[in-house]
């Protein structure tokens, strides 16, 4: 192999005495896609943040293009030709797409005035390379998570970096965008760009990477050529044990209709959505980015108000104006956006887990903190959240572990209807299986589950029926045995029409 683009040796890092990286080494060759694998909390993002100048390493050395470097700030990393798409999308919602893309390196005239047209053209160029139609003048805060992700990708493309790090770039994307991303990755490979690719989607990793390096508990486990490894071996390296089945089965015991939605409409967003979910049933909701799936969940939960339509639970009509109404009616909602909607990042794991359940933990107005502690600690164990203890601040957990906390907070409430919007985004393979098993158990106990997901295999494997949305309307309904990737995709792009 040629001289490595990037070499990291013996990297160690501890946070407040807890070591999260222990002498990790990693090399990256030009034109290579090198997957960095590991369970949630294995230390992948931390390694990347050290490379990006966000964290200072405690030990170890880094060479870029054969020269040893110390990277003290994101600015220095960029100057060395290192560009990173971070896991938790650092965007400025109030600024436009193009302003975000060129933040800190705006095009200007000699008199320091911004060249808006140039900025617009440049951003347009990179966005269309990705095949997305996003207006450079739109505020980023108005974009969906998926669109924001595409903007981030366009942004790093425009940096023309030699080393490109993609930390879970596809977590929020649907197939179509993933395909265009891969095309770009291929073309960058041909131009000799080295890429570090982090993802929990196994298929992707096998498809796109040349080599894989696995971290476990912050230690280096090994590096393998992708061609000479298989999924089982990889999982074995990551988890230290085998995962028997990726999509566990469950026994079907359907009850009566638990959730009934009729003619749900919200002006300019969704129209005339009707469906039912029975107790014990998992209903999948698929669709392309921006199809309106999240909107349906928001409406059900009272985050937004209905313009028309009716919702009943167990045959009783319910009026939902605010989230508290939905919670009282027995609905729980795991939102897609954990940072903004799911978690209070500055508070502890314990406080986040108990937040929706405080009523049950209170007697005579006093919080029973002992009970709370026991309950949350049991949940931490059940969901295998990797945290020092339940007093750790949620914001300092790894992405996947944060996701587990978002799910965990609804479990104690024993809802009748559970809405899961992208529940396994960024979750590692072992934990995914854990979440699926949990879903199965809850369904078996009679819960009605609405599963919104952009991960098609997940929707197809886990759901009893699949509902497909296109531009705010239902464009297809498939039973478990008739649902296939193709059919769902066609319906999602507005091709297939509903039978009845």
């Amino acid at each position: 192999m040629t001289e490595p683009l990037l070499e990291m040796k013996g990297i160690s890092k501890a946070f407040a005495g807890v070591r999260v990286l222990k002498e990790v080494s990693f090399t990256l060759a030009p034109g290579e896609v090198h997957a960095l694998m590991g369970e949630n909390g294995a230390g992948k993002s931390t390694l990347i943040k050290i490379l990006g100048g966000i964290y200072a390493k405690d030990e170890g050395r880094i060479w870029v293009d054969g020269r040893e470097r110390t990277i003290r700030s994101p600015r220095e990393a960029t100057q060395l030709g290192i560009a990173i798409i971070h896991q938790e999308l650092p965007v400025v919602p109030q600024l436009t797409v193009m302003e975000n893309m060129f933040l800190g390196r705006e095009f200007t005239y000699k008199w320091r005035s911004i060249r808006w047209n140039r900025m617009r053209e440049e951003s347009q160029k990179y966005l269309s390379q990705l095949g997305v139609r996003i207006d450079p003048d739109q505020k980023v805060g108005e974009l969906s998570v998926g669109q924001q992700q595409m903007v981030e990708i366009a942004k790093v493309l425009s940096l023309q970096a030699k080393v490109l790090v993609l930390d879970e770039p596809t977590a929020a994307l649907t197939n179509r965008e993933i395909e265009s991303l891969f095309e770009v990755v291929e073309s960058l490979k041909r131009h000799g760009v080295g890429m570090i690719y982090i993802s929990h989607r196994m298929e992707e990793v096998f498809r796109i990477s040349d080599r894989m390096t696995v971290l476990r508990d912050g230690t280096f486990v090994g590096t393998r050529e992708t061609g000479s490894t298989d999924m089982d071996q990889l999982v074995q390296m990551m988890v230290g044990r085998e995962i028997r089945e990726r999509f566990p089965r469950r026994s079907l015991r359907m009850g009566g209709e638990r959730l009934q939605v009729e003619g749900m409409t919200r002006k300019e967003k969704v129209s005339d959505i009707s469906f039912t979910i029975r107790g014990g049933e998992i209903l999948g909701l698929a669709g392309l980015m921006g199809a309106g799936r999240t909107e349906v969940a928001d409406l059900l939960f009272g985050v937004e108000r209905l313009d028309a339509g009716r919702v009943s639970i167990d045959g009783w009509p319910v009026t939902i104006r605010r989230p508290i109404d939905a919670i009282r009616a027995g609905i729980a909602y795991v939102t897609e956006n954990r940072k903004e909607q799911g978690l209070v990042l500055s508070r502890s794991v314990k406080e986040n887990l108990s937040l929706p359940n405080l009523g049950a933990l209170t007697s005579f107005g006093i919080l029973r903190r002992g009970v709370e502690k026991r309950m949350t600690e049991a949940q931490v164990k059940q969901l295998s959240v990797r945290a020092a203890d339940s007093d750790q601040e949620v914001g300092t957990l790894s992405g996947g572990n944060q996701q587990k906390v978002v799910i965990g907070k609804w479990l104690a409430a024993r809802p009748k209807v559970l809405i899961l919007d992208e529940p396994t985004r960024g979750v590692d393979i072992g934990a995914k299986a854990e979440i699926y098993r949990l879903m199965n158990r809850l369904a078996e106990e009679g819960m009605a589950i609405l599963l919104i997901s952009s991960d098609l295999p997940e929707v197809l494997e886990m759901s009893d029926r699949v509902l497909v949305m296109h531009e705010g309307r239902i464009s297809g309904v498939f039973d478990r045995d008739e649902a296939t990737q193709e059919k769902v995709m066609i319906a999602a792009s507005g091709g297939g029409k509903l039978a009845d």
Binding site: R322, E340, V344, R347, L355, L367, A388
Partner: protein, 316 residues
């Protein structure tokens, strides 16, 4: 840099707790070395009594700031509640009823702030800036710009009395402290306050009735302002129309010196008590040292800055 910020986060409790205390300790040490009178028993009670008004305001302010809000109107609520109580006393009302009426009035004014913030969606700074002006104006209208005197030893005792050598205002302060501490730590309301300040949307989606929490939080602040107003009116034998002017600044400073973040979601009332002590001890110490009043301001500002900076640098 980022790391430092985040590492702190891991053990938030401990570091946060020690910071302000160290600052207070250093100031006390310094003052007791240069002033003979400073550490006398009478002066210690003297300081405690002096800080009680600010501490009570700051307790209420702690709730508000924890939700990410701010309450600039406390000084005016203090004045108006005090004036109303004094007015009722002067009109011959039973002292305890007058106290209750004053407290109720303050709570209602505070709840008004809360409604503006929660339902009117007015930024807390601007809402309470406006009501600060309005309540002050109403105080002037009600008092016709004159102090209101009354004649009630029972009432005066609330500000001037002693309970086994301990000044009554100090008792008010300590009892309030314990209650606030327990509420923040051990009740759903306390948790909701933190959650709201940490991430309002997430709190709402977790079923927290955020509007209600906001209204209550400002009402609590109003209640404490009224309590301070009553104590002050009792201490001064009269209600002053200009009482409490700019007190909001000292109250906010106490909260922030105590380590509570103005962004909301993080902090604790013990810090607030320490913060109020830092300010009170400084005022007292500078007086004891007979520092000229012009220089007092320079020194006070500088010491507060040093305390905060010290806290920051020690954390690194």
């Amino acid at each position: 840099m980022q790391t430092e910020i985040k590492t702190e986060n891991l053990k938030p409790g401990r570091v946060q707790q020690i910071g302000p205390l160290v600052g207070l300790g250093l100031i006390i040490l310094a003052l007791s070395l240069i002033s003979r009178e400073f550490l006398s028993i009478t002066n210690i009670f003297n300081v405690l009594r002096q800080i009680s008004i600010n501490a009570l305001l700051a307790f209420g302010m702690t709730f508000v700031i924890l939700t990410g809000g701010i309450d600039l109107s406390v000084g005016s609520i203090l004045a108006l509640s005090g004036a109303l109580s004094a007015g009722m006393l002067a009109g011959g009302m039973d002292p305890w009823l007058a106290v209750l009426a004053g407290l109720a009035a303050g709570t209602v004014m505070g709840a008004g702030n809360g409604v503006l913030v929660a339902k009117g969606k007015v930024a807390p700074f601007i809402a309470t800036l406006a009501t600060m002006t309005i309540f002050r104006g109403l105080t002037l209208v009600y008092t016709e710009g004159r102090p209101i005197s009354y004649d009630s030893d029972t009432f005066a005792m609330l500000g001037k009395g002693y309970f086994f050598e301990i000044p009554i205002p100090v008792i008010w302060m300590l009892v309030s402290f314990v209650i606030v501490y327990l509420i923040l730590k051990n009740t759903p309301f306390g948790r909701h306050v933190y959650a709201l300040g940490g991430n309002e949307e997430a709190a709402l989606l977790s079923g927290v009735r955020t509007d209600r929490v906001k209204i209550r939080v400002y009402a609590v602040s109003g209640l404490f302002a009224a309590l301070s107003g009553i104590i002050l009116t009792a201490r001064l034998n009269s209600a002053q129309p200009t009482a409490g002017t700019t007190y909001e600044l000292d109250a906010i400073a106490a909260v922030v010196l105590g380590g509570t973040s103005l962004a909301g979601g993080k902090g604790w009332v013990t810090g607030t008590l320490i913060g109020a002590m830092i300010i009170g001890v400084l005022d007292n110490g500078l007086n004891l040292l007979n520092v000229s009043s012009f220089y007092q301001q320079v020194v006070k500002g500088a010491v507060i800055l040093l305390a905060v900076l010290l806290d920051r640098s020690r954390k690194k």
